[in-house]
Point group: C2
Chain length 365, copies 2
């Protein structure tokens, strides 16, 4: 069904009708001029993320449900990166004519799946049309008691630098998706050429053969064998809430923390800048999945560059006092990659061969 058949108000009603807030901090969710929340004994954490079609996502290889799931997880990750608990999201979406009601149903389905995973309420939003691509903005609101909040500032020399999970996988997933997209469009282009030629020649036999070929192209299956983890990391990232649980259970309080979204190098530099410290990290300590390594080899790309600058890892990068060394070593899925130095010593990567390289950051421009 097209959106205009339903109308704005019925659309919003349809999308939000079965949303039931479950957080005690949600007083009033969807349905008024603003959501009403109560955080009497907690600090409120708020973060906003904008996702633009063609920049942050490509509808050729992500469906609306996964897209919504990813956007919500990315937004929640920012709250986790303050050592907070996400509680609410507000979702703005600008949709072009290609998007129909079923697409939006799936989008909300993805949002709800992501939210139920971390007990987050959808408490509002804005829906508008778009002349151009799809735009999505997610604001995530969370909570933390004052003493628990971990800022980017707070790292001090000798602190151990840790990162959760592994890095570079989402980036390599993107490379694979881009390659398969190219393969697909090449097939379509070649097919269209052959079709034009056959139509020109009015060759019935060729045209019939092309009908079979069309069916094959329409059923195009991208080749993801042995790369499932990379595709998952790109299309279905998970917010790193379990890492915080691990740290709390081990009674470890990070001195500083940031999420790894722009890439390890860039985000570590942010953390160093805010803490006014330097760092030394070790190439051989950077956690990398074997699928990431295999893909880098296949694409003839530098593995460390993918891990340092790939981005979209949505892991946590944090520092802990050196006295916590023994405790952190026992935790699964958390890796010590280096240590904090004085600011004047700069920010360095120590390569496998002992050479030292200054860390450089990359942004979106």
């Amino acid at each position: 069904m097209e959106i205009k058949e339903l109308g704005e108000f019925k659309l919003i009603e349809r999308l939000t009708k079965d949303i039931k807030p479950t957080n005690p901090s949600t007083i009033k969710g969807v349905g008024d001029d603003a959501a009403v929340l109560r955080y009497s004994d907690k600090e409120v954490l708020v973060s906003s993320h904008l996702f633009m079609e063609g920049i942050q996502f490509d509808l050729t290889y992500i469906d609306m449900k996964h897209l919504a799931y990813k956007c919500a997880m990315v937004a929640m990750t920012n709250i986790f990166a303050m050592n907070g608990q996400p509680c609410q999201i507000i979702v703005s979406i600008g949709v072009g004519k290609r998007i129909n009601v079923t697409d939006l149903d799936q989008f909300y389905d993805g949002l709800k799946t992501a939210c139920s995973k971390w007990n987050v309420d959808i408490v509002g939003g804005d829906t508008t049309s778009s002349y151009t691509g799809l735009s999505i903005n997610i604001t995530c609101i969370g909570e933390s008691v004052k003493e628990d909040i971990v800022y980017r500032k707070g790292a001090t020399p000798t602190d151990i630098i840790c990162v959760s999970g592994d890095l570079g996988a989402a980036y390599m997933g993107l490379q694979i998706l881009e390659r398969e997209k190219t393969v697909y469009y090449q097939q379509v282009e070649e097919f269209n050429k052959k079709l034009t030629q056959a139509q020109k020649e009015n060759d019935r036999g060729k045209l019939e053969a092309l009908n079979n070929e069309r069916a094959i192209i329409e059923n195009f299956q991208p080749d993801f064998a042995g790369k499932e983890y990379l595709i998952d990391r790109q299309l279905k990232p998970e917010a790193p809430g379990e890492v915080l649980e691990q740290l709390r259970n081990a009674n470890i309080r990070p001195t500083s923390m940031i999420d790894v979204s722009d890439g390890l190098a860039s985000d570590l530099k942010h953390l160093c800048k805010e803490s006014n410290v330097g760092c030394r990290i070790y190439e051989d300590k950077i956690p990398i999945d074997y699928q990431t390594a295999a893909a880098c080899e296949e694409f003839n790309m530098n593995l460390t560059t993918a891990a340092l600058n790939g981005g979209e890892d949505y892991e946590l990068l944090f520092t802990i006092p050196i006295s916590e060394h023994a405790k952190i070593t026992s935790l699964k899925n958390i890796h010590q990659i280096g240590y904090v130095t004085e600011s004047k010593l700069g920010e360095f990567l120590i390569a496998r061969d002992g050479n030292e390289f200054q860390l450089t950051a990359q942004g979106w421009v």
Copy 2:
């Protein structure tokens, strides 16, 4: 300067360097993974608005500073419509290649102007590139003590329906802007035709005369004489915070409230639905500025339709107990337009001639 010359991180630094939070509820503003706020004895109000180029705004007739000002005012209006005080905004912006650093400076200038007017802090945001148009999302966070919050629900039969300011002016402002844009593009088109012809004929005299004409077109001044108020209402709307002050000073607490953004008819219907009541409003009571009336005559448009369905008024529509009648009558700039009825009696406009019309709502599709 182009944005890519500066880079993402230096750009953000440049735009946010002189932002100093002044609200006691702002613990940490721009510069970490999330803003940190404290609302220990108040309820938190949160609302988000998405503005898409070509839908909510047209850069042909609004500059970046006014655009930012308007977006911020619209976002704040939602907090006022809950009888709250806006305290923080978070700004996401997706920018295409046409937008340069100076444009963004101006955008932030507009944001800061709007924010300083209502003592609101800019506490975060997201900046990304865009392949298509400009996208802006503003999340506004505000506060209210629990007892003061006014919801859309709460109206009861016999309540008086009030609206602040006047209606339909922003819509007529838009008509004028659209007309002047058309006039301008017609001139450009005619000029281009003449130019092509003169070039074809290689006619020096004509080409020289066209040079003068080009200068005239380049200095095109739209005709806004006598319509300044309408243009202002369209390009520089103000959030209706003073209306709340008036009500507080008069010790009047609305029973229900909503902002007039989609148009009086549509927003009144929302209010009735949420309150489970009906309404009767009177055509001759709807506040309309004389410039709005004059423009409707000029455009041969129905004045009441413009006031009922125009939208973008950013006024407050609210109900008060009938016992407050005397008090409200003494307040400037607040108009009693009708009264609340039982739900089964429906939602009606009583025309000047006594005829009754059912109210109908319009959305964005």
